[in-house]
C-alpha cells in the first residue's frame, strides 16, 4: 500500500514570495490533515478536511495561508506572502475517517530567507 506522498521535499524562498505544497493521501482515506512543525516543537494542526470539506481550520493563518482539496483526494497548501516565521516542516497526514489513526507523509521542509 502506497503511503502519503508530498512534494516538494525541500523549498527555499525569500520572504514575501509565495509557495505551494502538494499532498496525495493514502487511497480511500476520507480525512486529510495539514500540520506545521516548527523546529523543536511538535506538529500543530493547520487544517483538516473531510472529503472535500473543511472540518477545522481554526489555527490556519487565513490572511496568508490557504488550502484546498477540490476533488476530495489530493490537496494543496499555499502560503502567500511568506514570512520568516513560516520556516518549518509542513506535514500532511490522512486517515480512513475521522477518529481513525493518522498516517503521515515525509513532509516538506520550508526555509524562508
Amino acid at each position: 500500500e502506497a503511503g502519503v506522498a508530498q512534494s516538494p521535499r525541500y523549498k527555499i524562498i525569500e520572504k514575501r514570495q509565495s509557495v505551494a505544497f502538494w499532498c496525495n493521501p493514502i487511497s480511500g482515506h476520507a480525512t486529510l490533515y495539514w500540520y506545521q512543525q516548527i523546529l523543536g516543537q511538535g506538529p500543530k494542526l493547520l487544517i483538516q478536511f473531510q472529503n472535500n470539506g473543511v472540518v477545522d481550520d481554526s489555527q490556519l493563518p487565513k490572511d496568508r495561508f490557504s488550502a484546498e482539496r477540490l476533488k476530495g483526494v489530493d490537496s494543496t497548501l499555499k502560503i502567500q506572502p511568506a514570512k520568516l516565521e513560516d520556516s518549518a516542516v509542513y506535514l500532511c497526514a490522512s486517515s480512513l475517517n475521522r477518529g481513525y489513526e493518522q498516517y503521515f507523509g515525509p513532509g516538506t521542509r520550508l526555509t524562508v530567507t
Binding site: Q41, P43, D56, A93, R98, G99, E101, Y103, F104
Partner: protein, 117 residues
C-alpha cells in the same frame, strides 16, 4: 483545551538498557492517546495507541505504553533499547472516536532519544 507535556527534552541511554519516556496529558473526557516516532528527515510513524480497554498497550518495535488515568499519564517503555531507536518521540492526545467529535491531535514538544553504544 487539550494539551500534552513531555517533560524530558533529551534522553541518553546505553544500548541494551531499558527506556521510559514520560507523557502527561490534559483532556476533559476520555482521551485517545498516541505515541509517534520521527527519524531525521522523515514523517511520523505510529508506534502505538490507546483507545479503551487494557491500559497496557503493545506497539511496534517492542514498545509498550501504560495508560494511568489517575496520573493523567501515558508513558512509553522499552525493555532493551537498540541503536536504531535513536529518534524523536512524540506523545499526542485526541478525541475519543466514540464521541463523534473532530479528530484533532495535540502533540507534545517531543523527546529526543540518543543511544550510546
Amino acid at each position: 483545551a487539550q494539551s500534552v507535556t513531555q517533560p524530558d527534552i533529551h534522553i541518553t541511554v546505553s544500548e541494551g538498557a531499558s527506556l521510559e519516556l514520560r507523557c502527561n496529558y490534559s483532556y476533559g473526557a476520555t482521551p485517545y492517546l498516541f505515541w509517534y516516532v520521527q527519524s531525521p528527515g522523515q514523517g511520523l510513524q505510529l508506534l502505538l495507541k490507546y483507545f479503551s480497554g487494557d491500559t497496557l498497550v503493545q506497539g511496534i518495535k517492542g514498545f509498550e505504553a501504560e495508560f494511568k488515568r489517575s496520573q493523567s499519564s501515558f508513558n512509553l517503555r522499552k525493555p532493551s533499547v537498540h541503536w536504531s531507536d535513536a529518534a524523536e518521540y512524540f506523545c499526542a492526545v485526541g478525541a475519543n472516536p466514540n464521541t463523534g467529535t473532530a479528530s484533532k491531535l495535540t502533540f507534545g514538544t517531543g523527546t529526543r532519544l540518543q543511544v550510546t553504544l
